[in-house]
Structures are given as C-alpha cells and as structure tokens.
C-alpha cells in the first residue's frame, strides 16, 4: 500500500514537472515570432507592444541581423552610455528573399541594440558586429509605430568588407513611410532610430503636417 502511494506520489510529481515544462514551452508558443512582415500582414498589438517599421534595401545570399533589448530606465528613448546591459533574449531576423520595401514587426516597448548583421556571399562569410554602436540602436514605444531606418546592404562587396548601413531616410521616403504606417491607424508614427532626431516630431506634430495628397510637388521639379 505504501509502495503504491509512493508510486502515485512519484507520478504526481512527474506529471507536475511535465506540466511545468509544457506550460513554460507554451508560454513561448503563445508568442510566435513571425519575423518581418509587410505592414498589411502584421496583427494587432498587445498592451505593452509597439510596431517597428524598417525599410529594406538589401542584397546577397541569406542576410540576417540580430538584436537584443537594452536594459534602461522606464520610458527611456535614447541610450548614450558606452557600457550597455542587455536582456537575455536575442531576436534573429532572417532577410532571405526579402524584396526591397518597408516591413513591420510587433515588439515590446523598449530600447534595442542590433548586435550583428550577417551578409554571407557564397564562400565568403561576413558578420559585422554592431553591439556597441548607437547608430544600430532603436526604440519601440507601446501603441506607436517606430520607423528605425533603411537597412542597406550593398550588392557589391570586398573580400573582407561590405557596405552595410542603417540610413535615416525619414524625409526622403516620407510618402512611403506614411503609407506603410497607415496600416496601423491607431499607432501613430514616430522616429525610432538610436540617435536623437527631432525632424520627424516637428513635421508630424505640426497641424499642417503633410499627407501624400497635400504634397503638391513630390514628383515634380518646381513647386
């Protein structure tokens, strides 16, 4: 009898452990990571999330990038410290077969650091470390759409170098950016690149901020 109860106790403990494991796994499963998607295919935000909006102008075989969350004070947008503390989770974004254009992603609010960009070329591997470079930092604000720039990977490369840049093209691509952001009508557009840039704020907060239909000379030469 005692023997049986021990077995039952053991089974209960095992099943509890399995349940814990399943539960913890399912907690990940409830946050499936979809990678970058065209804005129209990205779902609704959770309470603590915001949209990231990135423009891709890339080439090469199977490029990708990785990023981590930076430990910051609450509501901090820019981090200028030389030494950063990172969260444990690492996001890895494959850019394989991604055509040029704007893509979006849902992320929890916070400041993030792109730590590496990989751009292999046949038998020439390439990994650019960006872990302490503020130009490769971005912020996401809950309930808002954060434009984090244009990732450019040049099609031409050297044997041990590639031209990889995160370009601030907020004004240059303004029309495309606001069109993409229009898929998130409840999440206002903001500038989310790692270095402070007030231009978008001044433009967007203005009562006469431009909308595509108001922009009289986006394609013509003389306005």
């Amino acid at each position: 009898m005692i023997y049986q109860s021990n077995i039952i106790y053991f089974i209960i403990r095992i099943s509890f452990a399995i349940n814990c494991l399943v539960f913890s796994l399912s907690s990940f499963a409830t946050q499936p990571f979809e990678g970058l998607l065209p804005p129209e295919k990205v779902g609704l935000l959770k309470k603590s999330e915001g949209y990231l909006l990135i423009d891709l102008n890339i080439s090469g075989v199977g490029p990708s990038f990785e990023f981590v969350k930076v430990v910051t004070k609450k509501n901090q947008r820019y981090v200028n410290d030389k030494r950063l503390s990172f969260g444990k989770r690492k996001w890895s974004i494959s850019l394989q077969d991604k055509s040029a254009g704007l893509y979006a992603l849902k992320l929890p609010q916070g400041v993030y650091q792109i730590t590496a960009v990989k751009a292999p070329y046949f038998n020439l591997p390439y990994r650019m470390s960006t872990y302490n470079n503020a130009r490769w930092r971005f912020s996401v604000v809950k309930g808002q759409t954060s434009y984090i720039g244009q990732l450019f990977i040049d099609h031409e490369r050297g044997e041990d170098s590639i031209n990889i840049k995160m370009n601030n093209r907020f004004a240059t691509d303004y029309q495309r950016i606001i069109e993409a952001a229009s898929f998130f009508p409840t999440a206002p557009l903001r500038h989310g690149m790692g270095m402070r840039d007030d231009f978008s704020e001044e433009l967007l907060n203005s009562a006469i901020a431009l909308k595509p239909e108001n922009s009289s000379c986006l394609s013509s030469n003389i306005c």
Partner: protein, 680 residues
Amino acid sequence: MKSFLIIGVFFLSLNSYGLEIDAAERFFSDPDMVSAQLSPNGKLIVAITYSEGVQQLVLMTVPVKITANTQFNHRKVLLDVAKFTENKASLRAIQWIDNNNVAVSFSENKAGIKDLVETHKSHYMLIARVPSGDSALAEIYSVKTRGRLIDALPYEDDSFLYATYSAYSKVYKIKPSLLSMHKLKPNKLSKIDGGQFIKNNEVASVKGYASEWFVDDKGVVEAVLNYGKRRSLVLNAISAEGSILEVKKWTRDEIDEATSDNYDVAIKTDQDYLADNHDIKKLIMPVTLSDEKDFFYAFDYAESERRSVYKVNYKTGSEKLIYESDSFRIVDIFLSHDDRHLNAVSVIKDGDIRYVYLDQFANNDERERGAYTSTISESINRQRRLVYKESHNQPGEFFYIHESGESIIGRLYPLLNGPLDNQLYQGNVLVEGLNIPYLLSVPTASNKAWPLIVMPHGGPIGIFDSAHFDDLTQFINARGYAVLRVNYRGSGGHTQSFKEHGKKQWGGLILEDIDSAAKHVLLRKDIDSSKVCLLGMSYGGYAATMLLIDHPNRYHCGVNISGVSDINLMINSPYMSPRNVRWAKSYIGDPITDYEHLKSQSPAYRLDQLQRPLLIMHGQKDTVVSIEHAYRLKLGLEKFNKPFEWYVFPDMAHQYDSVEEQIELFSKAMGFIDQNLLNH
C-alpha cells in the same frame, strides 16, 4: 493667337536654356592636355590629352627651329584608351624611362567576379615605345609581373626600377627592351618579362610587404617603409651594403587610432579624447625623398581628405607643412628629376585625375593676380623645359621653352581664349579681431554696377579659395556677375591658428565672416547692392541657405547645392567613420550634448523664416551629405508654403562626376539666378 504665343514662349525658353548650355560648355569642358613630359634629351614631348572625352597618350616632336609662333600641331597618338580597351580605363601618370620609352601607369575596370569589388579594377604598368619613323605604329609593352614602377631612371638608358611585393618585397632593375608586347602570351621559348625578375637583377629587398621604396636621384634605394612585427609599419634606412637600420616605427595601435574605422578603437579613443582634450592625432608617413637631406615628403594618413603635403625629418622629428590643396583629395606628388623639388600634385577632380602645378616663381604682383609659372619637366642639360602657366583670368596652358623662345603645346580649357575679361581684387575685413581675406572678381566689360554672387566655399575647415584660375568664378563673371569668395575663419591656406578659429563656428562666426565681407564689398560703386544672390556647395550650400534666412534684405535669392540642412543628421550619418565623428565633435559639435545648439543652427528647423526664393540641387548618390538633407528642406518648405525650385540628379554623388553634370548643374543655377535677380 494664344497658342502661337505659348509656342513662342516655349521655344524662347528652350533657346535661352540652350544658350546657357553653350556658354557653360566653354568653361566646363574636357581639357585638351592635362600632363606633359619632356624626353631626357629634350627633343620629344609625351602628353596625356583628351579627344572627345577620351584620354590619349600623344607624342610631339620638337621642331628643329623654334620661334615664338611655332605651333605643335603634329600629335602622334601612341595610345588611345578607347581603342586600347573596351573597358573604362585611364592613364594615371607618365614618365620617360629614356629617349625611346615612356612608362605609363594604367588603370582599367574589368568585369571580374560579379559583385566582388577587388576583381573589378586592375592597375598595371605599360611602356610606350617611341616609333622609329613617322609612319611606324606605336608599340605598347607591359610588365606582367605584379608590382609597380618606383623609379624610371631617366638618366640611364634602357632601365628602370620596379618593386614586387610578397613575403619578401624586392626591387629589380629591369630593361624595357627585353619585355614583350602587351597582351602577347609568352611561347615555350620565351619567359615572362624576359626572365628578368631574378637574383642578378635584384637591387634591394626587405622582409615583409613594402608599401613605399625611397630612391635618390642617382637611382640608389635609400630607405623602405614596410610592415614589421605585429603589423607595425617601419621606416628603415638601407645602407650601401644593403644592411637595414630602423629610423621610425608606427605601432598597429597608433595606426588604428589615427585611421581605423573600427568602432572598438573609436570608443577607446573617444574616451581618451574627451578625458584629455587631445588634438586629433596625425599619422604623417613618408611618400618619397625630398629636396633636403634626411627629409621626406609625407602625407597625413589621419586626414579625413588627404589635402596636405609635409616635409619631415624622422630622425629629428622636424615637420613642415609645405602644401595644401584648396579642396581636392591628393592622389600623388610629382618632383623635378634633378633636385626633387615638388612640382605638382595629382588630385581627384570631377571623378578624374587632374594635375595641380605648384607656383614657383610668382612675385607679389603675380600673386595678387593669381598668376604663376611652374616648370613641370626639363631636359637633362636643362636647356629645354616644359612649363605650365595660369592666372586668375588666364586658363592654364602648357608651353615648350627653348633658348630662343616659347611655344604653346596644349591647354587645360581648349574652348577658352584668355585672358578673360575680369579683374581680381583681394582684400580683408576685420571680424571679431580676425582679418578675414576675400577675393572679389568683377567683370571689366563696362563701368556699370554689377550684380553680385556671394559664393562661400565648402568644407568649411581646411578648404579655401585661391586666386588661381577658377572655372566657376570665370563662368559667372562671363554671365555678367561679380563673384565674392571669402576665406572665412577655419579655411585652409593660412595659419593653423586661423584654421582653429573655425572650430564650432559652423553657424556662428563663419557666417558672420561671409556676411561682413559681403557688406564690405557692397559699398563699392562697381557692385549693385540691390541684386545679390548666394550660391554654395556642401557647407557653402548650408551657408547660402542660412544667410538667406538671416538677411533677406541683403540677399535676394540662394542656390543650395549638396548642402547640409540638419547638422545633427550630418554628424550622425552612418557614412561618418568613428575618426570623422571624433573630428566633427571637435570642430562642429557633439550631437548628444550640443544637440539643441546645432538644431538651432540648422536650416531645416528655420524654414518658417525664409523670405527669399531658394534653389535646391542634390545628388541622389551623395553619401557625404545625404539626399535626406535636401528632402528635409523640401518637406519643410512645402509645410510653410515657401516658393522654391528643386532638382535631384539621379547619378550625382556629393560632387559632379562628369562635364555634362557640371554643365547642367551650373546652367540651372544661373538660370535661377538670372530669373530672380535680373528679371525682377
């Protein structure tokens, strides 16, 4: 009737644009000749010329009797780049090896491996042999072994020094007569390069990759700059017996700190810099032996754009700045054969190699007129010379000088006949205790008061305007405008202290300097103060826009070409290397701690105050001042409903890359200025 009127106006506008293009083509054309060298015996001239935009290597025979009217019309083409290769290629430098052979540094773009940059360009040395008679064809030979010419040994027949590099770098004395024709594959009986790269022909060698060899005027290898242990660079003296003695060493850390784009290094040096407030470090390394014993000509490899030539004695540490390029990046330097005097520098201008000949004989009066004469080549007996002459209104010309006179052999601006009709005035204006020099060019066609174009130069730090011939100034003068160029604080060409005064004055005293000089010349009777426009490129475009915003009563229009509109955006550009960011923090401001200040000095945030018409022109491929700057102006101007004109050049980078772009750019600029100054 109305439609006839519209068609008439349409053709009139087309016609006037066509006239602008025609006028611009005279000033912005391919040169006729860019470089020339006299053979050691002084009887032949070889030159790099242009024919319909294509480079040619031409040979000219010096006439037996030379008079003042002798014309060198006979040019025998030794090498026509367009016929020589289907690829984009260029002749980069020429040197006589002896009276029969000319060494040509040749660069060629190749298809290579798709998207792999290293495989797309090759540089090699060609040898053009002087044809034996008028009807004989030129023969082109080449050195197949990878390496480069280090001395043409023009005083020695049939030989030159050529360096190869691998685990051991070596210098060989090579006979051009034993080389094979270019692109001729060796057969079983022949050896590559005549089998000359052997121990018997070795003149010097050093372990490791040698980046420079230093050869004296007698062809003796005196020193070498080569990689040593732990990737250091070492300047070694070589004795007559071949033994090596270290003169100066640069550690890898020193090199990286001054030049590296590695962010880890930048973080370290940023902290060091901020802690100690050190100056930006230089990395002055030798390029060639100079005309003074134990002194080398040297470049500062830490300079963001290489524009300075130094003379350095590495034994004593003595260092002198001897030449500054006004705005273009120096590629190479050229010396006289016998005394190693610095004759010329080659620079990248308009996407091509151009030679800048240095003033040697200008007296004070000539300096005032920007006039100078520069010897560029001499025969061994020094009886015959080639010289280059120009002045502020005389386009550059090449002359052959003989005992009995001189004859023109080529021109830099083939469609312009100088001297052009304008006068140069050089003056100063005192601003905040500093004398600010300026150059005012005024047309002399009549005694009327001329409308004025204020043309601030780019940079702003280290760049400067000189009194020498400037095609843009001359073009604007010819269009009936006076041109004011100001060497504001921070400009090069003056003292280091003058340059330092420009620190953190982007939107401050530099603008005041330009404006003060403008106010000063507007008091002149030959200047019409009611018709003043600003025109500038890069920083000049920024200055033009800011001054237009700040002083609408003085300036009536502005042209901003490739201009900065948001200073913080520029410093935060991903194309700024850590080294450049360090420089920018020191000379412009810190986009973190000085953000608000730099924002307040950025036109993109002040467009509500603009009252005068602005023309914005920018290259889509600009990575120095990205096109984002132009779009910020555009969005801001649209936001405040300000009138402006706007052109994007899809293939242009920070500067025009072709004569066609240059013509289009300045024709549009002048059309806009005419419309806003003359037609109002």
